[in-house]
Point group: C2
Chain length 484, copies 2
């Protein structure tokens, strides 16, 4: 295993991270650096959390108000988790789904983030060689999470541009029949809803059809709902839990939800992954497996209190949704002014940007060329559709919630320059040599694409990047922090 | 996997936990309950940690002094870990080994406790069906950690009572040859040093021979050193790192250390497992796998500062060692007065108690009968040797560092009554019916063994348990906490 390549870390998705890692943007210290738009982080509502923490020193075992529980918590290693933590998480899961469904704390199983939760579910449900269907485009690290150590195969179900990338039951049926025809033992279907990378939610009828289809073929259905609380516009999110609630006849033993606090709360560092299965055997098995990746009891304790505070949670979810909506509008609105469209979306921390008109030709090679140009010259780390197994070239996932408004504006101004539409405002900030540069700047992207890679970096830097003015400091990037 | 039995949770080791769980001892609320002596927890030096925390509020992201780092830490998900955390852990590992060796922070890889670390090492080094040699007696949960999800086989190397359970190279050679003869692909050897359950350390020459043997047969050697900092008496602990330091000719690519802060610091709830490999490919692979079980960044941040405080760490390790030594002496000394011997030991949070003279016959059935009597009637959750794959019946692991002195005394008084040696001191605490009970109490253990199980519980309770007087409160058990 130390030598196989199933980890998937060589995909472009990770390449982009590496580029960012080498030259990370900072408004003052490195204003020409790469802006990280490949990281689906939610940084918009930390002030609310910080305010709560200041008001609740008892929630920490490292304050004078909370330290009397230190030894009990430091010693706590029961794989069921702190009961208050499970209760808090179950309650939060309900609230993040509009309180239309409730969750049983006894079914809350811990894992190491959604990463660990997804792997654990696979270990529980499939033997090596078994397969899971997954609608494409899908989260690239599924290759690592679902497949690497479990030996499970992933079979993509192609979602078409013409359907706005919505999964169709026909495509699902086709993928299932094809796999069966090749004697593959299909154990289930997994999908992320709200979708990563699309930022869309499944409508109730489609979701119901998926439950019905998987149920009728005795397939497991794993619903990865880690973006449940990021919905910022209509139509709202419908959880698979609501389908089960509405129609009692479905076989619940085949339904499993993966959840996490990394996206909805913005705590990826805390490694809170949750498996919520309606199947008792899976709950029991996953709980045994959770010994490999329990949530730190220090973190469980903090979250137990935070997530049990109804007023805080209600306010946080409402405010977070509003801020995400505003940010989404700011970014996609800016793109629209440049005639760049995104798939209409209502959730997530990213949008699915349509750069098909910018492709030299409709191929994945052209997508890769465009992507490398965006990374190396425009200095935005976005993620190409091919890394999400998208069937059609020209789509890119762009994250917008891991930065402040100023950085979004810088990113937009870089894109503006790239597509050749100068913004009069930013022009004022340009240094000397203005006339000489102007001609170069207004070259179309196609010409840029034809430049040799070795020349491009320097040239683009000289022409474009010096024009960017410093902005107010943004939070230090975790990846920068890691490399100090 | 949800249906196989490789998890090993049905072993007596876990049964004992369940018995405790149903009826946990509490000095005032449940003075007749089962005393947990099956849990290798280190609760003796928490006051030092608490004192440090009070003095260092900045170490927490949930204090007014530390909150400005909250968002960076909550967002931090780099699988390399916080650089300060890795540095702190590397430094602590050196100190816990008397500063005779140093560790490179770049080789520190995180995992979910030693549980996760051990599994990760197996995933890195072996394919399903491959085997690892492991000297017996060994930690029962190795079955889960090393074997369950990896498909790796474990081949015990029997350590003999006549050698004081020290591993012999002859036995190692024999086990290796036997496995090869059966066409088993042996990939390496894993052992816990200081030993769990023995509480002994490998002497330098033996350790050197093991490195030499594994090296010469191109076998990996995984040294699980999670008890490195628990040594309380001579001879001191020799880490495999010291062997490599002394003799540069060994092939380091075959050497891997597993570490944790669960035992030496007493933080099992924090789930800090460490893989320290001298092999670059293993470091790289294990780090990729650590995505499944990273340490919570909240916890990393706290420990980064705590473990980098040299004065604190020096004092903690010295004081912890002294307190463990005192506790060991108190408990084993008490047993000696009852003519119960333990294997001579110098480390660990337990002793290896020799109850061979109390066996009805030298069989594992007799060991199980004795064990059930100890659990159900003496109400001590100790762990039978058979659950550690010990080759000879009559040995029991008894943990002594997860309770206060008063509870140790109660445990000793229960054992005293069980083996029929009344202590005049505790006699004063007996309630009425004194004469009537005395005869029953002084029955030998052999007679007790002949009582039917259904009768025993009641009878023993009436006769013995009511005699125990309440003691000052001890820390609430984590398992009690879990069930509230």
């Amino acid at each position: 295993m130390a030598t196989n390549d199933q980890h998937g870390e060589n995909s472009p998705y990770f390449d982009g991270w590496k580029s960012y890692d080498k030259d990370p943007f900072h408004p003052t210290r490195n204003p020409h650096g790469v802006i990280q738009m490949g990281l689906a982080e939610n940084q918009l509502s930390f002030d609310l959390v910080e305010e709560w923490i200041k008001k609740n020193p008892k929630a920490s075992i490292c304050t004078s108000e909370g330290i009397k529980l230190f030894r009990d918590i430091a010693n706590f290693q029961d794989y069921h988790g702190l009961p208050e933590f499970r209760k808090g998480v179950a309650r939060f899961m309900g609230k993040a789904r509009g309180n239309r469904v409730s969750f049983d704390p006894e079914r809350i199983v811990m894992a190491g983030g959604a990463t660990g939760a997804n792997e654990t579910v696979m270990f529980c449900l499939a033997d090596p060689g078994d397969a899971f269907l997954v609608p494409s485009p899908y989260y690239p690290a599924f290759l690592r999470d679902l497949r690497w150590r479990t030996g499970v195969q992933l079979i993509p179900i192609t979602c078409k541009t013409s359907d706005n990338f919505q999964i169709s039951i026909e495509a699902l049926q086709q993928a299932y029949e094809n796999a069966k025809g090749e004697n593959v033992n299909v154990k289930g279907l997994i999908l992320t809803n709200p979708s990563n990378p699309l930022g869309t939610t499944l409508d109730r009828e489609t979701l119901r059809s998926i439950v019905s289809f998987t149920n009728s073929h005795n397939l497991h259905f794993v619903s990865d709902e880690i973006y449940a609380g990021t919905v910022f516009a209509t139509p709202g999110f419908v959880s698979v839990a609501e389908i089960l609630e509405a129609e009692k006849h479905f076989n619940r033993d085949l339904i499993h939800i993966v959840y996490s606090l990394s996206k909805d709360m913005g705590f990826p560092g805390f490694r809170v992954g949750i498996i919520y299965s309606y199947n008792d055997a899976v709950v029991s098995c996953a709980r045994k497996m959770s010994s490999f990746s329990l949530v730190s009891s220090q973190t469980q304790h903090l979250l137990a209190l935070m997530l049990s505070d109804d007023d805080f949670v209600d306010r946080f979810l409402a405010e977070s949704s509003e801020r995400l909506g505003k940010r989404h509008k700011l970014f996609t609105g800016g793109l629209e002014q440049l005639n760049i469209k995104c798939l209409k979306s209502n959730a997530g921390l990213f949008c699915w940007m349509d750069l098909r008109p910018l492709l030299k030709e409709p191929t994945f090679d052209a997508e890769m060329s465009l992507w490398r140009l965006i990374i190396n010259d425009v200095k935005l780390n976005v993620s190409p559709g091919s890394s999400f197994e998208c069937h059609e070239p020209g789509w890119f996932r762009v994250c917008f919630a891991n930065m402040d408004d100023e950085t979004v504006e810088i990113a937009l101004s870089r894109i503006r320059r790239f597509v050749g539409k100068e913004n009069p405002k930013t022009k004022q900030n340009d240094d000397g040599n203005d006339k000489a540069q102007k001609k170069t700047k207004q070259r179309s992207w196609q010409k840029n694409l034809q430049l040799s890679f070795s020349k491009r970096n320097t040239m683009y830097d000289e022409n474009i990047m010096v024009a960017l003015s410093p902005h107010s400091p943004i939070p230090r990037s975790p990846l920068v922090l890691a490399r100090n």
